[in-house]
Subunit: 525 residues, 2 copies
């Protein structure tokens, strides 16, 4: 590890400003001083990305898949060195580190498979009559990458949503060069993974510029990148304020560009009376774990729990005890912990005296907390719509299903909504689900929202303020759509078409010919 940026294939550290990362467990600076990129280095990274774009976009599907697979191999071959640095920089445990590495390499290999399968190319070939000039014309469409993409490393997923995470994997799969803006709290993990990507790019003969990594401690580099005319899209996972700041900068450029920002969520959970009566033990187990796992630092942590129960408050008491009993964890960084304590204290000030909390012991440890209010209190204060990122949840007592519906009506857009119930009024179920559909990207039945499966049917997204664009998912193969645009070729000679559109289906991909899906060749009569 050198602390340098990667500008294309080269390590580069021309600047004078440096920063170090911190072990949140000890509060000490970690080894290696990271050099922030200069404007010239940032410009060069974008120039390299732009100039290699058409070459990278026209690599064969097999070669591009090979690149992605090789990144996965190179990440694995970093071995314990990567895992150690990950744990030191994040305060997260060994088991989580290993699981997240697995998720990261699995994601890269899944995209490699998708790239070759070719469904994402969305090939459509029509031989049609046109009304305006009534003759038979030949129209063929495929998707291609949108251009250089800037990816912001996410604080809470140093591997799976950072340097070689979902945004990078989907952008590279789309044929878009990627420039990563490091998350300053895990610049070392970033450098190791960036090394793996650059090594893989060289080994598989990808053009220089396909990847760069920019060290940065503040906001300047990110703002500059998002406003650069040659950057064509942005992927971000993080805070609401950060995501919206980038979104607005991008919208106010001369050429506006899409910013997909995933900005977190309250992830409301509804627990209906039948569960409270018959299933409290199991559901409180699930929720206590989901609220506190890895110090609640997941965008899908359940931050809001509506419980329909009577005055005995059995569910509340049990959940409160279980949350308090979990070992309180070190948070990702001192800043994250300070922010958590501040938002948690605000919430407790609003909620009044009733709450359950573990005593925060040790440096940067976030106290596991369940605050308790009733539906009227919830409805009276719109500040309850603010996410408290960390091991905190708000339990809202509801006297009736009407209470629940009134609360749901004032909620904003969410990544997820969950319902715990097994034996209730079907009409009420349908009303709830209808509201969930309107409000969220994913709806979960008798389960917790944490644990986002990487699969084709996943939606990790949702209406504002969960994201800046509800039309896309940030997880799973469909996330590639964020970085693709269609191009249509009209009446082209076969030999000048891209391979995916030629008469002979040499790629063996599924194509729509005159509206019908087929892997056959186009027959030209």
């Amino acid at each position: 590890m050198t602390g340098a940026n990667f500008i294309g294939y080269k390590r580069s550290a021309l600047g004078s400003a440096t920063f170090q990362t911190i072990d949140p467990v000890t509060g000490n600076n970690l080894e290696v001083s990271f050099t922030e990129a200069t404007i010239e280095e940032v410009d060069l990274s974008i120039a390299l990305a732009q100039s290699c774009f058409s070459v990278f976009a026209s690599t064969t599907l097999v070669d591009r898949a090979q690149f992605l697979n090789t990144i996965a191999d190179e990440i694995e071959s970093l071995g314990d060195f990567l895992i150690d640095r990950y744990c030191n920089e994040s305060g997260l445990g060994l088991q989580r580190a290993i699981a997240e590495r697995t998720r990261t390499v699995d994601q890269l290999r899944a995209f490699a498979k998708e790239v070759v399968k070719g469904d994402w190319l969305d090939v459509s070939i029509d031989l049609v009559e046109t009304g305006f000039s009534p003759k038979r014309i030949d129209i063929r469409r495929m998707m291609k990458g949108i251009g250089p993409v800037v990816v912001f490393g996410a604080g809470n997923f140093p591997l799976a949503y950072s340097t070689a995470g979902g945004d990078t994997a989907s952008a590279l799969a789309a044929g878009c060069p990627v420039i990563v803006k490091v998350h300053p709290s895990h610049a070392g993990t970033n450098e190791l993974v960036a090394t793996a990507i650059v090594t893989a790019a060289r080994k598989t003969g990808m053009p220089e510029g396909v990847f760069s990594s920019i060290n940065s401690h503040g906001f300047d580099h990110g703002q500059y990148l998002v406003q650069h005319p040659d950057v064509k899209a942005v992927g971000f996972t993080g805070s609401f304020s950060g995501g919206m700041a980038l979104y607005k900068l991008a919208a106010l450029r001369e050429e506006p560009i899409p910013v997909f920002a995933e900005m977190g969520s309250l992830n409301p959970v509804i627990v209906l009376r039948d569960v409270v009566e018959f299933n409290t033990e199991k559901v409180t187990d699930l929720l206590a774990e989901s609220v506190t796992a890895d110090a609640g630092q997941f965008c899908t942590k359940p931050g809001l729990i509506f419980v329909e129960e009577d005055r005995k408050r059995t569910f509340e008491k049990l959940l409160g005890q279980k949350i308090t009993a979990k070992v309180a964890k070190v948070m990702l960084s001192p800043q994250m912990c300070q922010r958590y304590e501040s938002l948690r204290n605000d919430a407790l000030a609003r909620s009044g005296e009733l709450h359950y909390a573990s005593e925060g012991k040790g440096l940067n440890v976030g106290s596991n907390t369940l605050a308790v209010i009733n539906a009227d209190q919830f409805l009276a204060n719109p500040e309850w719509n603010q996410e408290v990122f960390g091991p905190f949840s708000l339990l809202v007592h509801c006297n009736s299903s009407d209470d629940i519906q009134r609360c749901l009506d004032v909620l904003h857009g969410q990544l997820t909504c969950s319902l715990f119930s097994e034996d209730y009024d079907r009409a009420f179920y349908m009303r709830l689900v209808s509201r969930f559909e309107e409000m969220a990207g994913r709806i979960i039945w008798n389960g917790v929202p944490t644990g986002v499966a990487v699969c084709g049917a996943m939606t990790h997204g949702g209406p504002y303020p969960a994201t800046t664009d509800p039309r896309f998912t940030a997880v799973g193969p469909e996330s590639i759509r964020r970085f693709l645009r269609p191009v249509t070729f009209q009446n082209f000679p076969d030999e000048l078409l891209p391979p995916a559109l030629q008469n002979l289906n040499t790629l063996g991909i599924r194509r729509r010919i005159n509206g019908h899906f087929t892997v056959e060749n186009v027959s030209v009569c």
Copy 2:
């Protein structure tokens, strides 16, 4: 015709401000005074749209298709009354009126077919292992409408891109209620078509609020609609300044929403030396017609023609003569004609003396014009990137293929690029096509860009400033994607899932089950 708005099912004219439309041929006001909507009427139209959204979104595919087909029927049954009003308000001829009506009803019926076919639902059903909570989970995704959509009527397509045009048809197909902001130059055509839509909605039992039509003469209503919190997306076809103003308003709302604005294009055409030598007659025929048809008032009109020819300038002279010889047409409105004359005069002032022009005869007639410059002149002035909407094109003489490439390098995003050539250097072809792909949504070989076929492989879109988002098309069945968002259901009881996601494939649609496309049922073991 009454001049009223449609607020839901009801004609409503509570305001005092009125306007009339103008026959551009005579300059006279046409019959019927249109009453601008009041803020209360606009609010009510949005409230109705919002409150009917979940009902409309859950109509069956067959019922929704029936609604679209019935709109088409009702438009046809308006008969000559619609055609006459269209011609009077637009100055366009009978043949165009009939062709555009055909395009409009065909589009509606095509969407009806697509709705039932169900590919747009993008159903994906996965039974997967999740790494975080390692058990088999059942994850099912489908697309649903994004919410109420505002559609702006387009000046140059009073039928096909206005009240019941492509934007409205695709939004309704997606299950989104539509509020049309009338184009003030054809408010009568709008009212007739709005009547057809409302009649169809009543006949097919659609909920009130699924469609409203707002009369407006200025910018206020449009700005208000785009900023309203319950509006979730916008479709616009028109000027760059109009599109960008709406885009920025939408981006700066508290909840940003997608605006798909198609803002026109220069549609560069390259004519290589081999064509000039052997095919001048045919290509100049095609281009002269494409530049001047319907007074050049198409977003795909070729406004920029790069010709590689020698000093004899045979191609230029022949094209100039043919463009001049075409009958100059009345433009859509006095304002449109004034704007055309102003931009045309600016262009002629920049280009110098050499140009070909028909004398504009009669009121609101736009002079057919070909201005001529060389590559150096083109490169020297970025103002050549501005579209001159009307029967104008700029011919740029290029001495070499290098000249052409230098010119292409400075062009902005385009809807289309066209190449005329049959026998040239393959390497140069490939370089050109690579640049075209980067720059445009559609690339045409030996053909003109006008005449946008409505088919699955069409892309009517492209990089900025052609549109505000290159990831979508505004024409063809894929245009529905602008108004769809994914929703995922996790571990749901089968009977509570939407029909498209249930085990039994009662809709008979194509679904992806564990990554494989099939029309089979889901087998649950």
